[in-house]
């Protein structure tokens, strides 16, 4: 539905975030950056990428929820954002899967012509 707020004079729009919350979020983000640099130096036996992505997603969620105040907006706004992520995921899954499938042909060709791998 469209929104009809009839008093156009002194109406409240937007949501003011307390400064302490902003500071906490920023602190959390810096800590998580430190953490991801730290885990980046370790050998996590194949779990490096998932761990890094989980940390990045946590950071992204903090930015989205508080800095971008998604937490206080209408859920529909958040849905738009999730929709974009969903479509990127769909796109990624299809293309990566396909490229993985035909990679053998490319490698066979490359090794024939460049003498590598």
């Amino acid at each position: 539905m469209s929104d009809h707020t009839h008093d156009s004079g002194e109406e409240h729009i937007g949501h003011v975030l307390p400064l302490s919350l902003l500071v906490k979020v920023f602190g959390g983000l810096v800590l998580l950056t430190g953490l991801t640099v730290y885990t980046g130096t370790m050998d996590l036996h194949g779990f490096d990428l998932p761990v890094a992505m989980v940390i990045a997603t946590c950071k992204a969620s903090l930015v989205c929820l508080f800095f971008m105040h998604l937490k206080y907006d209408k859920p529909f706004i958040g849905m738009i954002f999730l929709l974009s992520v969903l479509f990127v995921g769909l796109f990624l899954a299809f293309v990566t899967h396909d490229a993985g499938q035909y990679q053998g042909d490319i490698q066979a060709y490359t090794s024939e012509h460049l003498g590598g791998e």
Partner: protein, 258 residues
């Protein structure tokens, strides 16, 4: 369509706020429309970047060892500093939105200024990183002075001489580039193609953001913003946070591959 009877936006209504555009009925409707608009725009931005993330995933999943090798040419320390710089700018911009909503003009100016300085710092560090890569020849495959050519004969002679990555003179790298298998070396070039496109496109977005911040600063000085009129600041901040968001993913994906 009930409040503005027979007034069609010619400004006859004395109670009508100056910054309420003629085709909207209320500030709330104007704000909500703008908000939806900027979020839809951010959605297009996410999809705009998506192709490069898909390229990244595709090449990395097929050539993990290439990415592992190539990542050591990137300076993790610089990347980490840049991450914090960008996070700080996001924080000050979020604070600026709060200032605008509360009508604190001088604080708003200050926070926007800090954001702008951080953005400049980010680009400065980026510049240092880029120029180092041009010096070393750690570039994409089609560049003239890249050291990642399949055939070593195609690598310029001066690069072979002075590039420490090519000879591994300082022993920093696991294998000297000249000792790599040709096909492998070519794929490292692809990594740098993806790297430069991703960070380059992100850098362009940072620069657009800087122009945006300057514009917001000028408007702030003019006294455009107040508790019922902070849409531009809020939407500018949303754009800036998205730029930050993309870097949050770029940093571990490019710099932290072990």
């Amino acid at each position: 369509m009930s409040t503005t009877t027979n007034d069609h936006g010619h400004g006859h209504d004395p109670n009508r706020p100056k910054h309420l555009a003629h085709h909207f009925e209320s500030l709330g409707q104007q704000f909500d429309s703008g908000k939806l608009g900027i979020w839809v725009f951010l959605l297009t931005e996410v999809l705009f970047f998506s192709a490069l993330f898909v390229a990244y995933t595709m090449y990395r999943s097929n050539y993990p060892e290439v990415f592992q090798y190539a990542s050591q040419f990137l300076d993790t320390k610089m990347g980490a500093i840049n991450t914090v710089v960008l996070l700080l700018s996001s924080f000050t911009f979020a604070w600026a939105v709060r200032n605008a909503m509360l009508g604190e003009k001088s604080k708003l100016m200050l926070n926007l200024l800090i954001t702008l300085v951080c953005a400049g710092g980010f680009m400065g560090i980026k510049y240092v990183e880029y120029s180092h890569k041009f010096h070393e020849g750690t570039l994409w495959g089609g560049n003239e002075s890249t050291i990642f050519k399949a055939d070593p004969a195609d690598v310029p002679a001066e690069m072979k001489e002075h590039s420490s990555a090519w000879n591994n003179t300082d022993g920093k790298y696991s294998v000297a580039v000249k000792d790599l298998d040709p096909a492998f070396r070519q794929k490292v070039g692809v990594f740098f193609g993806v790297y430069f496109c991703l960070t380059g496109l992100h850098g362009i977005h940072v620069m657009i953001g800087m122009i945006l911040i300057v514009w917001l600063l000028l408007r702030t000085r003019r006294g455009d913003f107040g508790p019922t009129n902070f849409n531009a600041i809020d939407f500018g901040a949303l754009y800036w946070h998205l730029v930050d968001l993309i870097w949050i993913f770029l940093f571990p994906l490019l710099y932290l591959i072990t």
